[in-house]
């Protein structure tokens, strides 16, 4: 697998279009998912993912082959998203970009997912990025630490603070295990499984 990846990288560097297509196919959904979760906007996420993937292919020669490729590619996308978020924070907030009020009476799974995303968007950048990399990209704390240039212990702290703040924000929106049948069931299941 590692050899296949190294070969793919070599072929990309040699400018083989098939290899580049293969590389993009392999990484695009993960890169897009990261951008989508970090930016919370489909069009912006597509643009960021496109630029990140092209940048990754162009700079594959900088990847150290003794390290995993996924975090390296994702780090490029995370950087691109951070830049986009900084630019966005300098723009005035318009009515369009404000979240719609949640319908608390008839929440489906996807509506609850939106609620969680709105809460994620409110986290400070380090917490948000750590949470997304851990739960969306399923990277370990060690891998996230290498990506963000922070020790494991710091990443764990950020992860737990992110979780705590998210739970608090969700409670403020009226979403609690006690008040939602579906969640209540899951909470009971979790206890039962333990």
């Amino acid at each position: 697998m590692a050899d296949d990846l190294s070969e793919l990288v070599q072929r990309c560097l040699a400018g083989e279009p098939d290899a580049q297509r293969n590389f993009v196919d392999q990484f695009q959904q993960r890169v897009f998912a990261l951008c989508y979760r970090m930016l919370g906007h489909r069009q912006d996420a597509e643009d960021a993912a496109q630029e990140s993937l092209a940048r990754a292919v162009r700079h594959l020669g900088r990847w150290q082959s003794d390290r995993p490729l996924d975090p390296w590619v994702l780090a490029i996308a995370a950087n691109r998203c951070r830049t986009a978020l900084e630019k966005r924070s300098r723009r005035p907030v318009t009515a369009e970009s404000l979240p719609e009020p949640a319908c608390l009476d008839s929440r489906t799974g996807s509506e609850l997912a939106e609620e969680l995303q709105r809460a994620v968007d409110q986290l400070r950048p380090n917490y948000r990025e750590t949470f997304i990399l851990f739960y969306q990209q399923e990277l370990s704390c060690e891998e996230i630490g290498q990506m963000l240039g922070a020790p494991d212990g710091t990443i764990k702290t950020w992860l737990h603070r992110a979780r705590k703040e998210l739970a608090e924000l969700l409670r403020q929106r009226g979403i609690t295990p006690e008040q939602n049948d579906e969640l209540h069931t899951v909470a009971r299941t979790t206890r039962g499984a333990d």
Binding site: L13, R21, V24, Q28, E46, A49, Q50, H59, G61
Partner: protein, 221 residues
């Protein structure tokens, strides 16, 4: 297991994505500590929402867009990339290295060298930040070695370099918290790692230059 130990184990379990051992959650129902109950409620809430959140990402096909982007600006030639030329820090060091090599070349290989004319090389001394010329009237025997020239140049750029590093330090996380301190130390360690290849490159370039010098001009002779 007391409440603190229980919450630590819950945190470890979350970090490692592991289920708790049998009966683990019962502690929160029986210990009477609000922190434990809250920790378990938070965990249950997020565990319930995370699967939908993870899956609610649209599927995209960006392949043609990325390939068109790449066709417009193709990857860098491998030979350049393979040398690992990267980053603003490295570029700064490589610029300094180029300066050293050019200065050494001008200073030591100049046709004016052989004894009859004063040797003028653009080598600043450590205290000579303006970089004015150093005139050496003593001829070949006193010619500084490429290493000496390099050392003086590095001493010369050290002052501004320190100022730049201090300025960058201003934008790093401040405060006495453990996280801020760890972040600062991670940054400086990362910077040193990035600069290391460039410093090695300068050393190698100077050694190469020494090898290329005529034997009579070699500092060891």
């Amino acid at each position: 297991m007391n409440c603190i130990q229980w919450r630590e184990r819950l945190a470890e379990r979350i970090e490692q994505r592991l289920p708790g051992p049998p009966g683990f959650a019962e502690h929160a129902a029986t210990c009477g500590d609000d922190h434990c109950r809250q920790a378990l409620a938070d965990a249950a809430l997020l565990e319930a929402l995370l699967p939908d959140w993870r899956n609610a990402v649209p599927t995209v096909d960006l392949t043609e867009r990325v390939l068109a982007d790449l066709a417009a600006t193709p990857p860098r030639p491998k030979a350049i990339v393979a040398r690992g030329v990267a980053g603003a820090g490295q570029k700064l060091w490589l610029t300094a290295a180029a300066g050293v090599i050019i200065a050494a070349g001008v200073g030591l290989l100049s046709p004016e060298r052989p004894g009859t004319q004063p040797t003028t090389a653009a080598v600043p001394s450590p205290g000579d930040a303006a970089g004015s010329a150093v005139t050496d009237r003593s001829g070949l025997a006193a010619a500084p070695s490429p290493h000496e020239i390099g050392r003086r140049y590095l001493a010369w750029v050290e002052g501004p370099g320190t100022l730049v590093a201090d300025a960058v330090g201003v934008v790093l996380p401040t405060g006495a918290s453990r996280a801020a301190s760890e972040s600062r130390s991670a940054w400086s360690s990362d910077l040193m790692q990035r600069l290391e290849p460039a410093q090695r490159g300068i050393s190698e370039a100077l050694l190469l230059l020494e090898e290329q010098l005529p034997a009579a001009m070699h500092p060891a002779t």
